[in-house]
Amino acid sequence: MADTPAIELQHITKSFGSTRANHDISLSVYHGEILSILGENGSGKTTLMNMIAGIYFPDHGRILIDGEEAIIRSPRDAYRYRIGMVHQHFKLVDVFTAVENIILGDNEESPRFNLKTAAAKVREISDQYGFELDPFKKIYDMSVSEKQTVEIIKTLFRGADILILDEPTAVLTPQEAEKLFAVLRRMRDAGKSVVIITHKLHEVLSLSDRVSVLRKGEYIGTVKTSEADESLLTEMMVGKKVTLNITRTEPKDPRERLKVQNLNCYAIDGVQVLKNVSFTAMSGEILGIAGIAGSGQRELLEAIAGLQRVKDGEIYYIHPNSGKIEDLTEKTTLQIREMGVRLSFVPEDRIGMGLVGNMSITDNMLLRSYRSGRGFFLRRKQPQQLADDIVEQLEVVTPDTRTPVRRLSGGNVQKILVGREIASSPTVLMAAYPVRGLDINSSYLIYDLLNEQKENGVAVIFVGEDLDVLLELCDRILVISSGEITGCVDARGATKEEIGMMMTQGGGEKRA
């Protein structure tokens, strides 16, 4: 390790509107080391790295490269400082070959257009670090791991000495991840600095030399990996328990309402997103689902709602009065509704899946109820009434109910969506991140609404990201990690550390 850090961040602060993504963060990356940036979702890891890569510009603070202040305004500037970043979502042109993608936009450095010499250079880089890549393979013929290789080589091709990878293993199989780690170690040994953004503890411990931890936009600290263990890192990552004072009543007369057994689902690209998921949701209780974002929560809810293809496994619904058991597996939303199952779903994608942005509040109400109308013409009276009620009771800030939903703020959009779903008096209510982007008051309003539904004997399934809230609000918490259920705990006795460990374990280690 050289004495001057390759990158030094001093007091970096970045805000988006009123939310502060990074606050007064100072950390350094040295030559020839692998540094992990560890933190939960929304802790500001990616934002911080994007400032080094030239995507964002810091509001305050300085970035020093090799001891000198650097102004990085664009990815091109970043390359000039020999910084390359591999984003979570690849920026590749599908119908181009690997080498075409690699040289794209590189015309200033090499004025002559020559694919052959470029391909030779790509092969040279591949050999040096142990990549396997055919430079003339088209991107659409590639696996996710190959695409990532293209992205990494793209940065090396432009001479990057500092390589930042945003959640590089999120899309890889354990074997592919191991290969990647081997390459990264070779790069470190060649004197390059590697920064990986991750929330997987075992990766941090097996790969990196040092770990810097962020929590809610703040810098918590940096430790040497050799001196760290899982419990220390978890504590740094999730922090101490905070009391929120959400009222929680004992479930009244809990009965089985929804039963999921051995559910397996695959995404379109063939990746298994749910693995042998089994659980039961009871009436009159709130079942929390905790997990790092993208661990299969979305697919799980969509599978229940009839929006996601199920490979195998069963989903049963037990009617509240008759006790009749219905099989919901592989049924469409419409079929589910026709069976008399009152299932409500508040998706995480509010405008898009939940509501139609360009339509008014009233018309969005109509979307849920138009099937009950008779005749050719729309009857707006009832939905109009419902819209008025929601606006009044949930204190939605809007000029009137004719305003397109798109123009409302996030919190108000969410109130409308939750209000509409509750109005159909569901027996199962599924809500994915219902308080994301909401301020404290709106959040509490949503918690109260969920509690009210629980009181009414609804089986509430709540996918959340804030562990403090999950612990205070839910009766039981199901922990999901890489599509697997890694635990189910009673929220009254559980601790954050316990859940944090379950969220980050499994996946990689278990599959390998």
Binding site: S74, P75, R76, K91, L92, V93, D94, V95, F96, E100, I103, L104, G105, D106, N107, P111, F113, K138, Y140
Partner: protein, 325 residues
């Protein structure tokens, strides 16, 4: 007869080749310009306006200005059309289909308005105006065309604009594959966000591609009047060649070198009814449909084969706005 048929097919195909080469460049930048029929029409009438005023004002009509003036007028006219389209769709991010269709209506209207005006100024007896001298200069064939029998007729009998069309198509084809600008242009049409991240100025590429594409397409209109129609302009004489040019883009799988052959096939299919004996008016129209039927077949074929490179630029028809994700 076959030689004559092929020769006519080529001549029929040249305007389509110009139109499709122009449209391919435009579409490669992600702009689906359905205004091509209007732009070609404007390219034609602007050439006519230039030629008309030169012929009526100059005492002696010399070959060089007789060719350059209409050529320049045509290029400027279609460039303006391209600029309108780019401004609306790239800067103002208007819907591309609506803008394109509006431009076609607009271009046809402009053409007919000025065409009608010129007919009136010329006090012509027929609903058309004729620029024989200019057309003769435009139609000058290679010197040995007449002496080499069928070979001369098939390969050497065309005017310079016809050869230019083929040469432009070949150059554009090479340009896509073997230059930085070509690579960047294709990236813009496939994935503008990626191109943007690579430091490519997406809007500038879209503007340039659309304007250059329009100018090339406009030459198709000029060729039609000056060569194919022997310098006779009559309103609505251009027919649906503009739409054929757009169909040809799909037929040629967005490759200008394919579109050279495609244009001859389309041209041949378009005039085939003349060479089939004993058919009525109604059957004629069925024959004229053939190019579109072939295009649909090609579309079905490539869709079934589902190879991503032959389905056109991925971001075709979408406006790009960096902050929108």
């Amino acid at each position: 007869m076959w030689i004559a048929f092929l020769q006519r097919a080529v001549m029929q195909g040249i305007p389509l080749l110009y139109g499709s080469t122009g449209e391919i460049i435009t579409e490669r930048s992600g702009n689906l310009n359905l205004g091509i029929p209007g732009i070609m029409y404007v390219g034609g009438i602007c050439g006519v306006i230039g030629a008309f005023f030169y012929e009526s004002s100059a005492a002696v009509i010399r070959p060089l200005p007789a060719i350059l003036i209409p050529l320049l007028c045509s290029l400027v006219g279609s460039l303006l059309m391209g600029l309108i389209y780019s401004f609306l769709t790239v800067t103002l991010r208007a819907n591309q289909n609506v803008t394109g269709l509006a431009l076609t209506t607009f271009g046809t209207g402009i053409g007919n308005f000025f065409g009608g005006s010129l007919i009136k100024i010329a006090k012509s007896d027929m609903p058309s105006i004729t620029m024989t001298t200019t057309s003769n200069y435009f139609r000058t064939a290679l010197p040995f065309a007449g002496k080499l029998g069928w070979f001369g007729q098939l390969f050497l009998s065309y005017s310079f604009l016809a050869y230019a069309a083929v040469i432009i198509a070949i150059i554009v084809s090479y340009f896509f594959r073997h230059t930085w600008t070509g690579l960047h242009l294709r990236a813009v049409g496939e994935n503008p966000a990626t191109a943007d991240a690579a430091g490519i100025n997406v809007n500038r590429y879209k503007y340039r591609a659309t304007c250059i594409g329009s100018m090339i397409a406009g030459l198709g209109g000029l060729y039609y009047v000056m060569d194919y129609a022997n310098g006779v302009w009559s309103n609505d004489g251009f027919g649906d060649r503009g739409w054929l040019a757009i169909a040809l883009v799909i037929f040629a799988l967005w490759r200008p070198n394919f579109s050279i052959f495609g244009s001859i096939i389309f041209g041949g299919l378009f005039i085939a009814y003349n060479y089939v004996s004993n058919i009525g008016m109604s059957t004629q129209e069925l024959f004229k449909m053939a190019p579109y039927v072939v295009t649909v077949l090609v579309l079905i074929f490539v869709s079934v084969r589902n190879k991503k490179d032959s389905l056109g630029p991925a971001a075709l028809g979408q406006s790009y706005f960096r902050e929108e994700r």
